[in-house]
């Protein structure tokens, strides 16, 4: 008897449970790092939406099992963000792919996946529940103990109770147990927090590690970047499926109206001109488009010269904040930051911001250190595959800027976009899209130019110091030996000559040849 093939539908939660590698939960080391990262990012996003200076408290404590390998740890995070409406809490934390991020605006996460994956991973490794407490500010704080029904992708609420909220607190607290190899993940977690502090200088991060050690990253400003605005899709970024969904949704009766209402930076003139080019009647009802016409429309969009997307949907850090962040964490001797004008790749707007810093806590030797950020997330893995690495290490001729590999120099690259061109789902490195690469290169060159002025000055000062050292070493000896040779008991005073050394600019580097 032939085996009968069993076909079954799997839920989104089940899918990600079975494929947790792609979300960054490969092993207990990576898993705890990803857990922290997702939770911190959700908290930051919850604050930034309403420009609340973030106050985040994170604690990891050892619960059971080994400490020098995989063991069970309890993760606790608190923020002062906008909070989650109480009726949405179960879905927001117990249903994969449910969330507020399926919109075209710049946020740290994209899929509403990470936080839930963290809880899901905790659940499958410890069979524990997650506790969520949140309030949006009214009189009550809601507490849920819940688990995820993996097969159905549904939250299972085990307990729901309320607490009085006398102080009108708003924010969220999430706590659950999870398997982790903390010892191995520690250095990356600390790097992550420090780099987060660089890219969010308006946030105060407090972290208590499993040994009870306190790490604190204080904010240096309460000024925050303008929150991103939601935006319409740009024609360049639209595919057949998106277009069909928009046609299903629309109330517009004509193609011109449809183009104007649903696309970014498309007005009457542009819509008319575009439709003429693709040979579609402007007054046609979009719901009556044939499949062939839909394909024509999508292909036409790729070739027509639309206005570039504007950057209102982006929330770059700004030069001032980037500088403040670098200064506060690394206290360098020199710093230069630069923000490029908005640009776009495939219809997705993006902005590149870069910084370069010299000295301070930046270590010397081993070449230029690279700090990469995308949508205010530090990227810590797969550095050498990243487009910024390629630009910094293969395209910029640092000798041209008087930079040598032994100098303590760090380069910071922040890319913000509605869709960061990650190469993989792991969100760790950015693809070398030509438009993105060009923007990074131009930005790095700009700060490198400013760096080279500083380096030249530094070389000059070092040169002067070396000169003084040399004269200080030899002039007294000349005085000593000439007095001895001349049979004098008193040495001539060389201090007037030494004083003039620093003022003395030009000197003949060659022997003075003269005719007698």
């Amino acid at each position: 008897m032939a085996l009968q093939e069993v076909f079954q539908e799997i839920s989104a939660a089940d899918f990600f449970y079975r494929n947790r590698d792609i979300a960054g939960f490969t092993n207990p080391t990576r898993a705890i790092y990803s857990t922290i990262r997702e939770l911190v990012e959700n908290s930051l996003d919850a604050c930034e939406t309403k420009q609340i200076p973030p106050e985040i408290y994170l604690r990891i404590s050892h619960e059971s099992g080994a400490t020098d390998g995989p063991g069970i740890y309890r993760v606790h995070i608190e923020d002062n963000g906008i909070g989650i409406p109480y009726d949405i809490i179960p879905s927001a934390f117990g249903q994969v792919l449910f969330g507020s991020k399926y919109k075209l605006r710049q946020t740290r996460g994209t899929f509403g996946l990470g936080g839930k994956m963290a809880i899901l991973y905790g659940q499958v490794t410890t069979h524990g529940t997650a506790t969520i407490m949140s309030s949006t500010g009214p009189t009550k704080i809601h507490q849920y103990d819940l688990m995820i029904d993996i097969q159905k992708n549904k939250p299972v609420v085990l307990k729901h109770k309320t607490h009085p909220n006398e102080n009108r607190w708003h924010g969220a607290v999430v706590e659950f147990s999870t398997e982790a190899d903390y010892t191995r993940a520690m250095s990356k977690i600390l790097d992550y927090l420090m780099e987060t502090a660089i890219v969010a200088p308006y946030a105060t991060l407090t972290y208590v590690d499993p040994r009870g050690r306190l790490y604190r990253f204080d904010r240096v400003t309460t000024q925050m970047p303008k929150p991103p605005e939601e935006t319409l899709p740009h024609p360049y970024g639209v595919d057949v499926e998106t277009l069909k969904r928009l046609i299903d949704l629309t109330n517009e009766r004509t193609l011109v109206g449809f183009m104007r209402t649903h696309f970014h930076r498309v007005g009457r003139t542009i819509a008319t001109s575009f439709l003429q080019q693709v040979n579609l009647p402007t007054r046609k009802n979009p719901k009556k488009l044939t499949p062939e016409e839909i394909v024509t429309l999508v292909n036409g969009m790729k070739n027509y010269k639309f206005l570039a997307p504007d950057a209102s949907c982006l929330s770059p850090l700004g030069e001032e904040l980037l500088e403040a962040g670098i200064k506060k964490e690394l206290s360098p001797e020199f710093i230069a930051v630069y923000q490029r004008k908005p640009s776009a790749y495939s219809g997705f707007p993006f902005i590149v911001e870069v910084g370069v810093a010299y000295g301070g806590q930046i270590e010397a030797g081993g070449g230029i250190k690279l700090f990469r950020f995308a949508n205010k997330i530090p990227l810590l893995f797969d550095e050498a595959s990243d487009v910024s690495w390629k630009v910094v290490n293969t395209q910029v001729d640092w000798r041209h800027y008087k930079v040598t590999p032994d100098m303590p120099i760090a380069v910071f690259v922040h890319i913000c976009s509605t869709k960061v061109p990650y190469k993989t789902v792991g969100k760790e490195f950015i693809a070398d899209r030509p438009d993105v690469e060009r923007e990074i290169l131009n930005a790095v060159r700009e700060v490198a130019r400013r760096l080279s002025l500083f380096v030249s000055k530094k070389i000059h000062i070092a040169h002067d110091k070396h000169r003084l050292d040399v004269f200080q070493k030899y002039l007294p000896k000349i005085a000593l030996f000439s007095a001895k040779l001349a049979g004098k008991s008193k040495q001539p005073d060389v201090s007037p000559l030494l004083k003039s050394v620093l003022r003395y600019e030009e000197e003949s580097e060659e022997d003075i040849e003269e005719d007698s």
Binding site: V470, F471, K477, S482, A483, L497, E509
Partner: protein
Amino acid sequence: MKKKAKKTSKKTPSRIEEKKRVVLNGLKGLGEQVYAQLSQKQWPSVRMPSRSINNIHYDQQTRQYILGDHYVRRSARNIRHVRPLTQLIWTGSFVDELTSEGKTSTLRDVFYSAQAYEMSFADQAESDDIITDLETVIGHSREDFNVFPEERSAIFGDLTIQYTVRGYEGKELNLASHPDGMMIGPALTNAEFADCNADKIIAIEKGGLFTRFIEERVHEKYKALLIHTAGQAPRATRSLIRRMNKELKLPCYIFCDADPWGMHIANVIISGSANAAHLRDLNTPDAKWCGVWASDIVDYKLPSDPLTDLDIKRLYELEKDPRYDGKLWKKEIETFLKNKRKAEQEAFSRYGLAYIVDKYLPAKLKEMS
């Protein structure tokens, strides 16, 4: 300083003392000059003739290389000069002390002594270079301020010297008293000539032949002072030959191997070296190159070897050298290039050990005087 040879005076007691005084004055002058500059808040500097290759000229009158009109200034104001200038002044004060106390030192000693004063030279080449600078500034060779290279050259013959070095002042020694010859070192270089019964100098390149000449009693048979140059003659030896030639009026005859290198040993004794263009009184223009010539290889049917490419290259260089302007030089270079053969002094042994002394030497001496 030019010395005027005192006529046939066998004893010249003031000569060495006088030279020392001149050298010491020169050193003191250097110190006073720099001291005065510093006292007037000026950057100390020292001016000296340039020793760069385009400032070295051959002087027909003195028949040696001399420095031209170009001067260089070592100034403490220039960061690249301040170290060598300091080293120069230090070296000056170091040798001043040596000379005043009648002590001597080798080039190597100078290199090490510097370290005690935190004046370390990078290597001996650097310290040797500074000593050459000091020679240029003072106008005297380093042996005059008691810095000597390792000794290797020797002298033998009926010359009585009188020591001036500390502890031996006035003591006399006959240079024929030890059959291996006497090392030409600091004591001998600084000695006065007390009594001389020789009437010529014979300089020999190789130690073997020098010993043979002593054994064959050449010094008696030909009334000669024998000098072993040990290859290219050291400056102390060249200076000694000159003094004997000038002060004692002894003609000098030079015997070397029959190849471009041997020929050049003779030439440097006669015309000096380019490296010592800043110094005087090291060459003996009247000395004679007596052999072994390229033509001797043919005339005496000597066993010979073919010239190497390097030998031939060297001959072409020497051909253009102004020191080889004389008829004899030109003719012999031509013969070398024609026959492309070379021979060592020892080649005469094919005719028996005494042949060179009994036949070749008298013939040559007769031909050259």
